[in-house]
Structures are given as C-alpha cells and as structure tokens.
Symmetry: C2
Subunit: 445 residues, 2 copies
C-alpha cells in the first residue's frame, strides 16, 4: 500500500512531464484532421477510391509530450495492383507538402514535414480482416482499432509504461534497440490493467513466457523469440518478435529494482555525461584492459539496416580475436553523426611467439603425410598431428588490421570498411566525439 502510494506520487509527476497539454493535443489532432481532409480531397481529385486515416500513438492518445509524429495511412482497395498502390500512393502522399522524402520499409512510404510535424504517409490495402493482409503495414489500421476499442481510458497508464521503458533503455522495437514497441506497451497495459500491475508482471517475466490477451494463440506457429505476445488481431504473429533476450531481462531487472525502491529516476535517468579523456585514461589504467575500436564512415542506410550489420561485424571481429587465442571481455557497436564503430575491450591482446598449429588426425593418412612433409617439427598430439610454429599474430590489433576485410561484416558495412577505416585504441576513441564518450561511460561498467 505504501509502495503503491509512493508509486502513485511518482506517476503523477511523470504524467505531468510526459502528457501533452490539452492545447498541444488539440492542435495535433486538428493538424491530423486537416491532413486527412486534404488527402481525401486529393484522392478524389486523382479519381482514386482511397481515404486517409490517422493511426499510431497520436491517434490513440498514448503519445509522449514533444513527439510530433503523425502516422497517416492511405487506404487503397485490396484489389489494387501493387505498382498502382505504390505509384498513386506516393503521388497522393507527396501532394501534402513540398518537404517530402521517400523512405522504404516493407514498401515505400513518404516522410513529410507539415506545419512543424513529422508525418509518415503510408499507402496500404484496406483488407477486410487481418487474415487477408497483403503486407505487414496492412495490419496497422487493425492495431489502431483494437487499441482504441480496448485501452478503455488507460492512456496515461500506457504513457507511464512507455516512459518507464524509455528511461530504463528498453523502449523501441527498431533493430538498433531490440526492445518494446509502443503497440506492445499498450497491449501490456490492456492485459494488466495499469502501469503498476504491468511492472509487477514484468518483474516475473521469463524466457518463452506467453502473453495471449484474447486467448487465441495459433499453436501451430512456433515462436523462437524470448517473449511471445500474441497479436490480438493476428494470432499467428508475435508482437514481441523484435525483442532480444537482453532487453527482456533488462526490463525484468528494472521492474524488480523499481518496485521496492520506486524513484522518478527510472523514468528520467540523470543525463549520462560523456567520459572525458582524463577519466577514460584513469579508468583504462585501473582496469588495465585494452580498448580498441574499428571506426569508419557509416554507410548510407537506415539504422534498421545498419545496426544488425554492425552487430554481425562486431561478433565476427570478436570471433576472429578469440579464435586467435586473445580474449575479448566485452563488445558493442556505436553509430552517430555519420560514424560507426565496433568497440571491443580486450583482456588479452599480446601473446607469446609460439603457437600450436593443429594438423589432421593420423587416421586421415594422406592429409597427415602432407602435413608431416610440410612441417619438420610435427609431433603427435592425441589422435592428430600438431606443430609448434612462430605465432603469426602476436598482437590483437595487428590481427584485426590484417584480417578485418575477411570477416563477415554485412554488405554495407563491408563496403564502408573497404573504403576506409581506422583502428583506435585507448584514449584516441574519444576522437569520435562526445557521443563516444557517453557510450564509453556505459560500456566500461
């Protein structure tokens, strides 16, 4: 009870900070209506059987103050040929504003700026029900309808949960974050009835837990993901498909820490000051590890494309280093202001001059004979041949420099690295700017 009271007080303060003012909300809704009217008129003028709808958090009254995003879907008849949907849809969308940019998710859409708002204009098929969707975006209008029908006045609870997730670093289902989407937050509020009950449930979440609000999960579909939240509008779909194990348990951890000691800092963590060079050098000297970064100009792709490639590249470089008997302590990826970096902290980065080169099993007689001929110092090592040779790479940084381009890096990252990269160690990582300093304060935990 005391806990609930303390949390109630914190919640009021959070809502005060994150709930858009009535004036701002009214303004945003007015803009949305205006946009819809213009697009509907435009569609009529173009002779299209198309209408616009407002979806997303601004349509559901669950958005956080300061967000100026309006999602507008352009609803085409389901029998529209895809090329026509794209051509006419983009043309209609472009008619809204001179400040437009084409983007691409599952299919193309327009990002426009209008009256200071950022508008996503997404053509989709208005299918009769979610079982007949032709593309993932066709599901969004159904999500909108479902949430509006079930959120039942709990919009501020959804805001609390989103801000909590944001504060503890697990908000966002983009591939950069691999956390919880806004829709997922809303579903959790619908399921558990309040922010506090969601946090209580969150403290008990576990790998492979299933949350099935409507109780109609399609059990023929296997979900390998760490958490399964059945989409109420499509029982075959896992709303939490993009959530990583790491972020799932970060939420669990945050819930467990919050409940016994609630504090507004969970929602608004103190800003992470960038590590300056003196601090970094002091920390590196205290730890006596080696910090090394492969830094390069970010390829010109969206974060959802970039981050999986960066992670793949970091794993690949870490694997290279470990395979050569050095030892990686921690790895992570960073991208900001046009630069990307694969960052590694090493426990072992220098090795003696000798290495064991393992040969074939003696049972493989031809291979074994070739090995024996090639290496005069060959000896028997259990069931196989081996030879001690001067170590090819006694320094991990030299190794990375020599083999980086042979690592599995992902297409765009590989191209970027092929053009140019720098290997930075220790204090020189800060040459990437204060963003790297912030990153390192977390990385060197």
């Amino acid at each position: 009870v005391k806990e609930a009271a303390a949390i109630g007080e914190i919640a009021r303060e959070v809502i005060r900070r994150v709930k858009p003012s009535v004036k701002d909300a009214d303004h945003l809704r007015g803009i949305a209506k205006d946009i819809i009217a213009r697009l509907d008129a435009g569609a009529a003028a173009m002779g299209l059987d198309v209408y616009a709808i407002h979806v997303g958090s601004t349509a559901r009254d669950t958005w956080l103050k300061g967000r100026k995003d309006i999602d507008i879907f352009l609803m085409f008849p389901p029998d529209t040929p895809r090329e026509k949907l794209e051509l006419s849809g983009l043309a209609l969308a472009r008619s809204l504003s001179g400040d437009c940019e084409e983007r691409y998710a599952e299919h193309p859409y327009i990002k426009a700026t209008y009256e200071g708002y950022s508008i996503d204009l997404v053509p989709c098929f208005r299918v009769p029900d979610p079982a007949h969707i032709q593309s993932a975006v066709d599901r969004s209008p159904f999500h909108n309808t479902y949430v509006l029908a079930h959120i039942n006045g709990l919009t501020d609870e959804a805001r609390l949960l989103k801000q909590f997730m944001h504060g503890v670093g697990v908000y966002g289902s983009e591939l950069k974050t691999t956390g919880f989407s806004g829709y997922l937050c809303e579903l959790l509020i619908i399921r558990y009835g309040s922010f506090l009950e969601t946090v209580r449930a969150g403290a008990n979440l576990y790998q492979s837990a299933v949350i099935d609000i409507e109780g109609r999960m399609d059990k023929t579909v296997k979900h390998p993901e760490p958490l399964i939240v059945v989409d109420p509008v499509d029982p075959r779909r896992n709303v939490a498909a993009a959530l990583s194990e790491q972020k799932l348990y970060e939420l669990v951890d945050a819930c467990r820490r919050f409940l016994p000691a609630p504090s507004i800092e969970f929602f608004f963590p103190p800003d992470n000051e960038p590590l300056d060079e003196a601090e970094l050098l002091a920390e590196m000297s205290r730890r006596s590890t080696l910090l090394v970064a492969v830094a390069f100009r970010s390829p010109d792709v969206v974060e959802d494309t970039l981050f999986p490639q960066l992670r793949k590249a970091a794993e690949s470089v870490a694997g290279l280093v470990d395979r050569h008997e050095f030892k990686v302590f921690e790895r992570d990826v960073w991208a900001e202001a046009g630069w990307s970096a694969l960052v590694l902290e090493l426990l072992v980065w220098k090795l003696p001059d000798v290495e064991r080169h393992l040969g074939p099993p003696l049972e493989q007689r031809e291979h074994a004979a070739k090995f024996l001929e090639k290496y005069p110092g060959t000896y028997v090592y259990g069931f196989r041949y081996a030879v001690n040779l001067p170590r090819q790479h006694t320094d991990a940084v030299e190794l990375i420099d020599a083999k980086l381009k042979d690592c599995g890096l992902g297409k765009n990252v590989a191209t970027a690295i092929k053009q140019e990269y720098v290997l930075l160690t220790g204090g020189s990582l800060l040459s990437l700017g204060p963003g790297m300093g912030k990153f390192l304060r977390k990385f060197l935990r």
Copy 2:
C-alpha cells in the same frame, strides 16, 4: 625391395646390439634352472604341493641384452586358501636369497637379487585354464605357454620390435609410459609374422582397431581403449588395455616415418642432452612463454601409483589456470631421484584487473535477488546477472600458490604437496637436476 634390403641391414645391426650372447643366454638359463631346482626342493621341504616355473621374456628367448630380469612363478594348487598362498608363497620365495624385498601388485610378491640377477618371485594358482583364473597373475603362465607355442622361431623379430618401440618411446605398459608391453610385442610378431610386417601394419593402425589372432573375441565385452588386442588365452581381455591414444599414435607416426627412411636411430635415438641454463633462457626468450613447475618430494609409492596421480594433479592445475582465464599451452609430469614436478608452459599468465563474475539467471528469482543485493554494480548479461569486479588473481603463479591445495591431486601427491612444495619458474626449474634438463629439451618442442 630396396626398402626391405635397407631395413634388413639395419635389423642385423640392431640384433647384433640387442641379442644376448649365447654365453650370456646360457648363463641366464642356467641360473633360472638353478633357482627352479632350489625352489622345488624348498617346496618339498616345506611340505608344499608347489613347483616353480620360469616365465616372461627370459623364458621365451625374447629379452634384450643387458636385461637381468628373471620371472619365476610359484604354482600353487587352485584350491589353496589365499592367505596360505601368500604366507607360504612369500616364505618359499624368501628362502632363495638373503637379498629380498616384498612388493605388491595385485597381490604380494618377492623381488630378490640372486647371482647378480633381479628375480621376481610370484606365487599364483595353477588353474586348469584361463577361464578359471583367480587373480591376474594366474594368466602369466598361460601367456608363456601361448608364446612359446606360437612364436615359431621369430624371437629375434620380437627383439627388433621391442627395441624399436623402446627407441621411439612407446615400450612399456607401466602407467608411467602407457605404451606397449613385451607380451603385446610378441603377439604382434605372431600376428604379422615379422618385424617389418608389424611396422607396416603399425603404420595403418587406428583408433578402436581390433587385433584378434585366434578370431575368438568375446563381443559381449566392450573395450573403451584406443586399441583392442584380444588376449589369445582370454577372449574377454584386451592386452592393450594400458595403451594410451597418445602412445598408439606415436607408434603409428614412428612406423610411417621409419618405412620410407629407415635408420638405426629409430632403435637407438641419440642421447638427449640436458638443456643447460643458457639454452633454456634463450628458448624461453624466443618463445616468450612462462614455464612454471610445482615441485615436491615424491611420495614413497611405486611409479604405477605415482604417475596417474601426477597426471591427475597436472590436469587439475591446468584446469584451475584455464578456468581463471589464463591459458595453458602444454603440461606434463616428471619424477626422478626423489622429486616430482607438474610442469606447465603458459601462454597467458597475467590478466587485467577486471573480471566478470557471472551471477544466477534472472529466472531464479531468489538467487538473483541475493546477487543484486550483494553486488551494487550488477548488470543484465543475456539471461543472467553479472558484475565486473577487481580480478582476484591477476597472476597465474599466485593463483596456483593460492589454490593448489584445493585441486584434485590424488591421495599421495596431495599429502606430499601438503608437506611442502616449491613453485619454480623459468631457469630455476633446472635446480631439479639434469633429469629436468633432459625432460625440458623434449617438453619445449
């Protein structure tokens, strides 16, 4: 043909060196007869229904020059009570010579010196057939009979094979060597008909190969050992049970090297000069590894007891070192002149001041809560908690010193180490004497 001719010439020279002279052989056989006569008379005088027989390589004419070992078995009726066998058997054996010592294998026997020969006097049961043996030693008289009946004039071939095995370091089935016994060499000669054919077969041996001379292997018995040589006198027994995978493949390797380039050096390798301190320091500086030895007074047990314990201890110490994120390159054990040593060569023996301490999975809620309370810096690491702490052991030698007594060392080795041990590194290993210098020349390959 040319190969066979070259090998023939080498073989003649080897035989010249290893075959006892007619005079020496006659003398040995005379001594054996003399011993048997004395023991038979002694048995009669003691009222025992017991007779002595001469077994082993000196009885089979397969022994190597200079060996002065005579194995005499005292054949008791199979219904003799075991205590009587031991008491009367040892008493009878002691009657041979004033220079006697009791030893213990599966049961006690006497090692006596007689006319400059070393005589093993082993009481056993004269069972009607090997299926009725009461103790492993009861099998030896049957082995003797089998070899005498089947070796068929190939005694010099057996000598060649034994000397070859000796020269390449795989002769001897004691637990120190884990190689090929004399009996096993004789069986191989019986199976393949000559030294050369045995070497040709040896070049093709492989893990789990079965050699079954009499074709009557008992297939209900599973043999996990690397080579299975069915005992012709007991189809359930593997004569190669003590052979290690390492020694099996060392033989294979030696055979493969010998056949295309036969040389007397396989039989008589040049003596291994001990590494002196200057050489050792030069080699360590070239390799830039760390050599470390745990040295202690050898416990007063036979080598068959000591060596398995030393190996267990070395594995255990290597495991300790690896588990703490250092890196072992090579390990071996050494014992000579009252001293034992576990010798390790390390690739990594210093580590940074930070280490990751892994905690429980978050799913184990109580354990996780305790961990979180105990370690303020706890973070989520996949599905479990972890915390970065100052590393407890940043130096592998200090680690060994701190934890050696907690390692699984084997009973007698543990007691010896508990009394006293020294940790030697680099050049100081040579303080253990020239035997260590010889050992290191091989170890640092």
